[in-house]
């Protein structure tokens, strides 16, 4: 027979187990919020896009060369917005990828300890500046400077927005690439030095190939940043839809279009309201494709030590 003492202990113990389980469930729910977020994003984008595609055929959406959703003669050619997104992203990546990679190699393989300790926080600050401030800087500082070299440049253009966007992305590319390179085991470098290789040879022929999968993820992150960047383009590239691959022209990107529509007063449920979800879905599919491509690339080049 249990004494009163042990039975009260037992019930205490039971209460404790229940409490422990309850806490675990609560924490699990907190972790599930991220899954709900993804489900929510997909649900909202697909739901509104379905309504949109009942009125506009997918073929028109993909092949039309005009984007005039708010005019009486409405055209919905996403190519127009996609061209702006692609052009500005190419300009940004042409700056961010080479500079980011060089900085990463330099900081990981060449730089003295002191330089690295100072440069890394500085780069982090560069990535922390709000994008609207970058937009202001592109419009009122970089564009005038570029016009000084090339006077025919219009006030709004993809070039200056792309350049500033590229500089904004440098820290993302460099910090992840550098982490990947520092994770390469020391004895690989030592082996290379023992064979008489110089620092540069070791860096480019041993460390970079060994860290390639990590560097690839850095590039992928850079690409999705560039494609999804909004405010710099909305401020500095103008918001006129323009089917062009010339960075010297003004053009709207997918993201800038969403901002433009959101700034206006569109009634909930109108076709203009639904276009931003169709545009958002395109953006989402584009970044998803990048991520899947990056995942496959990483799998193909993964090195384990």
């Amino acid at each position: 027979m249990p004494t009163p003492l042990s039975s009260s202990r037992l019930s205490q113990r039971r209460a404790r187990i229940v409490r422990e389980r309850a806490i675990e469930v609560v924490l699990f729910l907190a972790a599930l919020v991220s899954v709900f977020t993804t489900v929510g994003i997909v649900y909202i984008l697909v739901k509104e896009s379905v309504v949109f595609f009942q009125q506009v055929s997918i073929v028109d959406f993909l092949t039309d060369t005009q984007w005039t959703p708010l005019f009486d003669d409405a055209h919905f050619g996403i190519m127009v917005l996609l061209s702006g997104t692609l052009t500005s992203s190419v300009v940004a990546l042409a700056i961010a990828i080479p500079l980011g990679t060089v900085i990463a190699i330099y900081l990981s393989e060449f730089a003295p300890f002191k330089v690295r300790e100072i440069a890394k926080p500085f780069l982090e600050l560069l990535g922390g500046v709000p994008t609207i401030v970058y937009g202001f800087f592109a419009l009122l500082f970089v564009t005038p400077v570029l016009q000084w070299f090339y006077p025919a440049l219009p006030g709004f253009n993809l070039l200056s927005a792309g350049i500033v966007m590229g500089i904004m992305i440098i820290p993302y590319v460099s910090s992840i690439s550098e982490d990947a390179m520092r994770a390469v085991p020391m004895n690989l470098r030592e082996g290379s030095y023992a064979m008489g290789a110089t620092r540069f040879q070791t860096a480019t022929r041993v460390v970079v190939p060994a860290a390639f999968s990590g560097i690839a993820s850095a590039y992928i992150l850079g690409i999705s940043r560039a494609v999804g960047e909004t405010m710099i383009l909305a401020v500095a590239a103008g918001m006129q839809p323009n089917l062009t691959f010339n960075p010297l022209e003004p053009a709207a990107t997918i993201t800038a279009y969403i901002v433009q529509v959101a700034l206006g007063d569109l009634p909930h449920g109108s076709i203009g309201y639904q276009t931003i979800f169709a545009a958002g879905l395109t953006l989402m599919l584009f970044t998803l494709a990048c991520n899947i491509g990056g995942h496959l690339l990483r799998k193909r080049f993964r090195e384990t030590y």
Binding site: E20, A31, V35, I44, V129, F200, I258, L263, F277, G280
Partner: protein
């Protein structure tokens, strides 16, 4: 002698290869300089244009049609209130999720799905969060274009940052600490609340500050949910003179935030408004720099002090 000739040839070869080391080091420094110079140019440009405009009135005036009298009162109050909502939602959820994934999660497919999800969410463009909020919070849940909607949106946006920081901080705690506590009969939750969370709190705090610094500068998702750009009033005060003293009316109030005010001024052609934009931008850059600087300093202190 052939031997000596070979030696000089080898030395020449080594010298020419070493030259590449030097060339590359110079390239590295130049690339770094591009980043640092841009940052300096941006900061100085903002400061030169904006600082003359900064005055007490600038912080206590509402936006106005006349540039010289316009201020950022409603913008900074709005930013602060939105940040409160964001922190209240994102901190418990992020720390809870990080704790679950590190300390509780079994190794199964559900955990895998959650982890992959968090990685992917970190790469989703911020404007897509704005679309989510527009469809879900503003219309489906009926929160409207309010401080509550904006705070929730930014909370979801910075959740991955907080989760990743929490997990990294927890992972650096040695297993021995947990084993010691379990050996003394602590339950899993006791281990978490008395050991894991306190020891990782500085690392978690760093993540929270970086997340909040990002949230305060985010513009696109808040524009997407339809924040108004011209707000010449303050949300209702959260503290009342009569009982129950605290009111949550402000949660449903229309609002504007700092980056939106800056965007609004940037898109006007008059030079005087551009000057206002520069001043608002300077305040914004200063705030995010201060927050990021604090986070970097905390991390530095942390690395120096803790040795397990």
């Amino acid at each position: 002698m052939a031997y000596a000739k070979d030696l000089t040839a080898i030395r020449l070869l080594i010298a020419s290869h070493k030259r590449w080391d030097l060339v590359f080091a110079v390239c590295g420094v130049l690339a770094l300089m591009v980043g640092i110079l841009t940052f300096t140019a941006l900061f100085v440009d903002m400061a030169l244009e904006g600082v003359p405009r900064l005055s007490w009135d600038f912080f206590t005036n509402y936006p106005s049609r006349r540039a010289a009298q316009a201020g950022i009162l409603s913008a900074w109050v709005g930013s602060c209130l939105v940040m409160v909502v964001t922190a209240v939602v994102a901190v418990p959820l992020g720390v809870g999720a990080g704790l679950y994934l590190e300390e509780y999660a079994p190794k199964n497919w559900v955990t895998d799905v959650i982890e992959i999800n968090i990685t992917n969410l970190a790469g989703v463009p911020s404007i897509v969060y704005g679309l989510l909020a527009l469809g879900l919070f503003v219309y489906q849940f009926g929160f409207g274009q309010s401080i509550l909607s904006a705070g929730l949106t930014l909370a979801l946006l910075i959740l991955p940052v907080v989760i990743v920081a929490t997990r990294e901080a927890i992972r650096s705690i040695p297993v021995g600490i947990r084993e010691g506590a379990y050996a003394l009969g602590a339950t899993q939750w006791q281990v978490c609340k008395d050991h894991i969370v306190p020891y990782s709190s500085a690392g978690i705090l760093t993540g929270i500050i970086i997340g909040m610094a990002r949230a305060i500068g985010e513009t696109a998702p808040i524009i997407t949910i339809g924040a108004l750009t011209f707000i010449a009033f303050l949300p209702p005060s959260p503290i009342k003179a009569e009982p129950p003293f605290i009111s949550f009316e402000w949660l449903t109030s229309p609002f504007t935030v700092m980056p939106i005010q800056m965007f609004n001024w940037t898109s006007r052609p008059e030079a005087a408004f551009l000057q206002n934009a520069a001043a608002a931008g300077f305040v914004l850059v200063f705030m995010t720099l201060a927050m990021n600087g604090l986070a970097i300093w905390l991390r530095y202190r942390l690395r120096k002090n803790i040795k397990w």
